[in-house]
């Protein structure tokens, strides 16, 4: 009785033994372009693999039509997105809406997903975790071509190697270019930094003081800005090297406070400091917040120093550009409008209100996260497997 199925199995198995040579393999292709804060993803998955993973052939006739593929598009993205994850400096970059296309690669039909993943900060190092199809086919491979800030990398994902790390290394020149641009972008994109700079410079540009000419005012502005950049660069370096770590829950409200104080000082002198000192002291605080946007800076020490220097240069150049752009406005105002002395308090007053709103907003979210952290700690303290219990258990 039993010998019949055994014999049948043996026959079925004969061929693997005899020649076991099968050529058709399963491969997906990933083309990633990561620049600034976004990753453009083009992911090609073989239709026959997607058929196994999510079922495309809805009428079961062995033919997959474009209509059937399109109808499965939600299922495909629901399958694909969780199986390809990006993190930049440890923070997840969520995937955006995907567009579905079709391609033929090596004569095999593929579905192509195109979408953009957005990271919270500029991408300096990127982790990719790939887990598609491995649960079905352990010989599946994901072939990735990754362009990170202009430099190309390649990776092969397999069940034994499902993740890859890409760092913005490359040549000194590319590091310089990249971080210079990041410095410029950081200032241009951060409303709070721009407002702070504006408040720092407003008096030297707008204050009606006939004794000093436009050039000396500009020199004042540049000196103030340089003091800011120096202080800013100092804390930034300390933070990136992890010599100084201040939680963002403190830094963010503190930055709002610096804007508030500077604006208030423009209306009524409460700080009685020279501008350079204000710029320096408050710059120390601003530097701490930039560090989080730079991430862990996964570079060789020499390149890291270069990157920091370039970043600060980018920052400084942008600041000077802003000052140069603002100065003529102030000059024109003073030359044409006798009542221009009113401009400074009006502008500063507006900034003061904005800074107050930011401050209350940030204090509130800091307080919330403090509460959350406290609750989380309570939970872990009461969990049954805390380190104390493990160590406290006697052997045997």
């Amino acid at each position: 009785m039993n010998s019949v199925p055994r014999c049948f199995l043996l026959m079925v198995m004969l061929w693997p033994a005899a020649v076991a040579r099968a050529d058709i393999t399963s491969t997906s292709y990933l083309a990633l372009v990561a620049q600034d804060r976004q990753i453009d993803v083009q992911w090609s998955l073989a239709l026959r693999d997607l058929e196994d993973a999510v079922g495309l052939d809805s009428n079961g006739d062995g033919e997959i039509t474009w209509g059937e593929l399109r109808a499965a598009s939600d299922r495909i993205t629901a399958y694909a997105h969780p199986r390809l994850r990006f993190t930049s400096a440890g923070i997840e970059c969520p995937a955006g809406e995907a567009q579905l296309l079709v391609d033929r690669l090596g004569g095999t039909p593929y579905a192509v997903l195109r979408y953009t993943a957005r990271c919270p900060t500029a991408i300096t190092n990127l982790d990719v975790v790939y887990a598609a199809l491995f649960e079905i086919d352990r010989r599946h491979r994901g072939l990735a071509s990754v362009t990170l800030n202009g430099t190309r990398h390649a990776a092969v994902f397999s069940p034994g190697q499902p993740s890859a790390h890409f760092a913005a290394t490359g040549s000194a020149l590319s590091v310089m270019r990249q971080f210079f641009a990041a410095g410029m972008a950081h200032l241009a994109e951060g409303a709070d930094h721009l407002l702070f700079i504006a408040m720092l410079l407003a008096p030297s540009v707008l204050r009606p003081d006939p004794s000093s000419g436009s050039l000396s005012r500009l020199a004042d502005a540049v000196r103030t800005l340089t003091a800011f950049t120096l202080a800013h660069g100092l804390t930034l370096t300390l933070a990136v090297l992890r010599l100084a770590e201040v939680p963002p829950t403190l830094v963010e409200p503190a930055i709002a406070l610096t804007i508030l104080l500077t604006a208030a000082d423009n209306v009524y002198p409460i700080l009685s400091w020279p501008r350079e000192r204000i710029a320096f002291v408050f710059g120390l605080i601003h530097g701490l917040s930039v560090a989080s946007s730079l991430g862990a800076l996964d570079l060789a020490p020499g390149l890291r120093a270069l990157a920091l220097l370039s970043f600060n240069m980018g920052l400084e150049v942008t600041q000077v550009l802003i000052a140069v752009a603002l100065a003529p406005i102030g000059f024109c105002l003073r030359a044409t409008r006798p009542a221009s002395y009113r401009v400074l308090p009006i502008v500063s007053g507006a900034a003061l209100i904005i800074a107050m709103l930011w401050l209350s907003d940030r204090l509130q979210s800091s307080a919330q996260s403090a509460v959350l952290r406290y609750q989380a700690r309570l939970l872990t303290d009461h969990s049954p497997i805390s380190p104390a219990t493990v160590h406290g258990t006697p052997e045997g």
Binding site: L10, M11, L14, W15, T27, Q42, T65, R138, V156
Partner: protein, 396 residues
């Protein structure tokens, strides 16, 4: 003679140019305009074996640790992959057995399948280890015995292979043992005897269909090697009537046709199977031999070998060497691949590409291992004989 050579070189040059231009021309994802456009053909889910595979993998998905279920699914997947020449089914078998695959001492039925899967990955040493352990526990395990015989045959360990064939007595149907012994005899100077034994076995009524296909394929290969192309074609045709999609059979048949000056029949024979890399290669070789060239075909082939290279696969080295020599006209690269391939497998086809590449590269004695293997075992193969005598003429 001379002009033929020059013509061939020109053709290769044209091919190379096509390869450079063609991929760029057809590589762009698109959105099909017609909802009813058929993009892909898959195994219909109505197919009973596919249905069974689906049922088993669904059951295993909710019961990952179920050994008997995993073994059943893996067995069925391997058989299916074998039949269709589709390694994705081997990957499914890997996935089904994943919890046991890395165990130092897995259950015996898992170990047997692991040995077969390792063999399919050309990891012959590890495969032999697994099969040996299975056989020391179950000396009458026909599947393990037969698989080991074939692995040893592929590695040109003919005495050891013969020993395994003999021990198939009582462990497998007598026809299996006869074919096994004939396969060894065909390689060791007894081609005519082997040929007769294979024909008799194929004609016997009680020979199971799968064994009959095996016997006929071997008979075809052996006849082709002894220069009896009429008998060879007859055997291949009979085998094809029984197993029209058998990838190994089709490859052997196509090679025999091309050698017999019937390259013109190869594209039709393989038209429905070009999804399999090694068969697409044979179509390209035949087209080239006929003086036709299809840039799309060559571009496809180039893409597939590129993918295989990026995947880090070495199971394709024989085919890659043929691609390098026959399609790209790069004897040095072909020789490197063929030499590496010879370290892993030593079948007549491996010997042939090694020798061809060495001659084309102008260093025929580099293929010394092939000459020694041929002489020591008394291998009969008219193509090898032709090349060896041309070398000997050259040396004298």
């Amino acid at each position: 003679m001379m002009s033929d050579d020059r013509l061939g070189r020109l053709r290769r040059l044209a091919c190379l140019l096509c390869l450079l231009v063609a991929p760029a021309a057809n590589a762009a994802p698109f959105i099909p305009s017609d909802t009813n456009e058929i993009l892909e053909r898959v195994e219909p889910s109505r197919d009973p074996v596919e249905g069974e595979l689906r049922r088993l993998s669904a059951a295993l998905a909710i019961d990952r640790g179920n050994g008997p279920l995993a073994v059943k699914l893996a067995r069925l997947s391997i058989a299916r992959g074998q039949l269709l020449g589709d390694a994705r089914y081997f990957g499914r078998a890997d996935a089904a057995l994943a919890p046991w695959l890395n165990l130092p001492d897995p259950p015996i039925d898992v170990r047997l399948l692991r040995g077969i899967l390792r063999q399919s990955n050309h990891d012959f040493t590890a495969a032999l280890d697994d099969l040996g352990k299975v056989l020391s526990g179950e000396p009458h395990n026909g599947q393990a015995r037969l698989t080991r015989a074939v692995v040893r045959l592929v590695r040109a360990e003919y005495n050891a292979a013969r020993g395994d064939c003999v021990q198939l007595i009582g462990a497998a149907p007598p026809s299996v043992m006869r074919v096994c012994l004939a396969a060894v005899a065909a390689m060791t100077g007894h081609a005519r005897t082997a040929q007769a034994a294979l024909t008799i076995t194929a004609d016997q009524a009680d020979t199971p269909p799968a064994v009959r296909v095996w016997a006929l394929t071997l008979a075809g290969e052996t006849a082709a090697r002894t220069g009896d192309s009429r008998t060879a074609m007859g055997a291949f045709e009979r085998a094809r009537a029984l197993a029209p999609d058998d990838a190994y059979l089709l490859a052997a048949y196509a090679d025999a046709l091309a050698d017999a000056g019937r390259a013109v029949d190869v594209p039709d024979l393989l038209a429905a199977h070009t999804r399999i890399d090694s068969l697409l290669l044979r179509v390209a070789e035949a087209e080239l031999q006929l003086g036709r060239h299809d840039p799309d075909l060559l571009a496809q082939l180039a893409e597939r070998f590129e993918t295989s290279r990026l995947r880090g696969e070495t199971t394709h080295q024989r085919e890659e060497a043929r691609f390098a020599l026959h399609i790209l006209g790069r004897p040095d690269a072909a020789l490197r691949l063929a030499r590496a391939n010879w370290q892993v497998q030593r079948e007549p086809a491996d010997a042939r590409i090694f020798l061809e590449a060495a001659i084309a590269a102008g260093v025929p004695l580099e293929a010394d291992p092939v000459l020694i293997w041929r002489r020591d075992n008394g291998v009969e193969d008219i193509q090898l004989t032709r090349m060896v005598s041309s070398i000997e003429r050259g040396v004298r």
